[in-house]
Symmetry: C2
Subunit: 347 residues, 2 copies
């Protein structure tokens, strides 16, 4: 989140000051923050309508993949919670990705991207799957050859980056996708409640919120995204089984090469968690209640009573937001110089 | 097209009667028909807003496939001309389909569906890819188990088929998809010109239309979709090479088992042809000019001059239509009883 300009976040936090006095809400407001009302501005990557439109086109364009089969939308499907509802995604050559695809919704508000935070922001993130051999299996050169071959794309890049002489480049592709993705915010009943609407959450959901705070879930799951802000060992108190925490994926250790970071992951942001099963980086748990119980045991050393689990799940349901209306772009047609799809699996 | 109620087609044909007298237009109106202004009503499958919405949801839902990877939209991508711009589609297990995916746009106006016309209408068509082992690799039972597991889908089916006690069934899935797809009409400059707008097509496009008629292309490519209305041998005068016309795909012969139907295919509908490369059922030709030349030689025994080809291509460009605005649906989330994705390739 380093590159976010925080004014819109702070503004929306401050404007709930008038909410009726309620100890739970007062506590919640010290721990969480409501979703900003509009896409946050990103430092060094200001949003313009032209850039957002270009980003939307790129997000939906399967020709960013070598095969022409996968777009960003394939694994970050805006119709199904902003992810793909698979343990791990299927990519080029029917290969499986190593970790569960996180939702793109509200992802601009995370401190960094990927389960291990290896990308500082969404622009850096966007470059990863395009090039990953098990995902879109493309190269920056082939992507730029593809986009440059279509005059409409060249016009769109020029309009989105008017100060640049050669705007069609991999960096700008990523920046345009970033500003589009920054618009994908899903305000939830929890935000309405934080803003003072007592009826936005029911009694079970409020009891679940109280438990969420009292049990200590907020130690990792706080802030605007209820997670996505810091890195914590998975299995702080007790490591879950290898099925859920595979021993060969050491998480953030691969980024920092620090022993302290073995099996450390970015705390999952919890907005829309109820509609983005399966859970954890391994994607091995499909039931939200079971995921909550595993978290309580492994991170807090606590065995939840069934009614406690149910209330926390009810609270998490209040984080399911309203998906913004997205109209499908109409993409430029290929020309004679557009590279053709490559479905072969290269060694 | 047997099940289409033709009133809307006829109405839109008749209302162009006031167009200024122009011999080319008068001839064209005897051969072609403008696109209807609204989705045609389908006999035995009346469209309601609820049914269209359900159909849109199903069209975009990757959970219609066994793997959870493919939806109707995957191969009939509304951002790229209503098809997938691949020789043949990639499906379950990275298998390749046997024939090029046709565009879904305006497909409701074809006499029948698939390259060999083996499905009488879009409802029958929709059931094919869902079950094909090389496409979505699913079963009707698993599809219905999937849809029935999500209460929101059950509500939507009830609203779309209010007279039925058990509306969540495979037939209704197909019918809902059909009425959604029937809305995917793309009015083109050619339609505006047919309706009397002299400026909707330029001189090259009009010269191309004249050539298209004079050379005899209209023998197969006529009607509202400039094709899609009848069955003809590919290679009537001279068979193209096996690369373009593979010897082991005998076309409509597989449907009728009549020797006369060997290498017979439904004439390709030509709306949006300029944005739906590659061409022919084999998908082996990427250049529209070359496709036009192959057609002239194989079907008409005619070698076109380069300037003739260019003009016919210019005319075909006037068939690229305006894509309707489609807002992505928000799909129901899986529940504990939703069948999980199956990515394994079953024997």
């Amino acid at each position: 989140m380093r590159r976010l300009v925080l004014s819109s976040l702070l503004a929306s936090t401050m404007c709930v000051g008038a909410a009726s006095a309620d100890p739970l809400r007062e506590t919640a407001l010290t721990v969480f923050a409501p979703l900003p009302a509009a896409a946050p501005q990103i430092a060094m990557n200001s949003a313009t309508p032209e850039k957002v439109s270009l980003g939307a086109a790129l997000f939906f364009d399967p020709r960013l993949s070598a095969s022409g089969v996968f777009s960003c939308y394939s694994c970050h499907n805006l119709t199904t919670g902003g992810d793909d509802n698979m343990e791990t995604s299927v990519g080029h050559g029917w290969q499986k990705g190593p970790r569960n695809s996180p939702t793109v919704f509200n992802s601009v508000l995370n401190i960094a991207q990927f389960w291990d935070g290896r990308a500082a922001d969404l622009a850096e993130q966007a470059k990863g799957p395009v090039q990953a051999a098990v995902e879109m299996a493309n190269t920056p050169e082939n992507v730029i050859a593809t986009l440059s071959s279509m005059p409409q794309y060249v016009e769109w890049f020029s309009a989105a980056f008017p100060e640049q002489k050669e705007p069609v480049n991999f960096e700008n592709m990523a920046k345009a996708i970033e500003v589009f993705e920054a618009t994908l915010l899903t305000p939830a009943p929890f935000d309405a409640w934080l803003a003072g609407d007592d009826k936005a959450m029911n009694a079970d959901q409020l009891a679940g919120l109280q438990l969420f705070i009292d049990k200590g879930c907020t130690s990792c799951h706080s802030g605007v995204n209820l997670g996505g802000q810091g890195y914590y060992p998975f299995g702080l108190i007790e490591k879950p089984g290898a099925e859920i925490l595979p021993r060969d994926d050491k998480g953030r250790f691969a980024v920092t090469e620090t022993v302290d970071d073995e099996y450390v992951f970015r705390a999952a942001p919890l907005r829309n968690v109820a509609v983005t099963a399966p859970y954890f980086h391994s994607g091995k748990v499909w039931d939200l209640g079971i995921a909550v119980e595993i978290m309580a045991e492994s991170q807090l050393g606590e065995e939840l009573k069934p009614e406690e689990t149910a209330k926390i799940v009810a609270f998490l349901d209040a984080l399911t937001g309203t998906v913004p209306q997205v109209t499908l772009p109409v993409l430029p047609a290929e020309t004679s110089s557009t590279p053709r799809p490559i479905t072969a699996i290269l060694p």
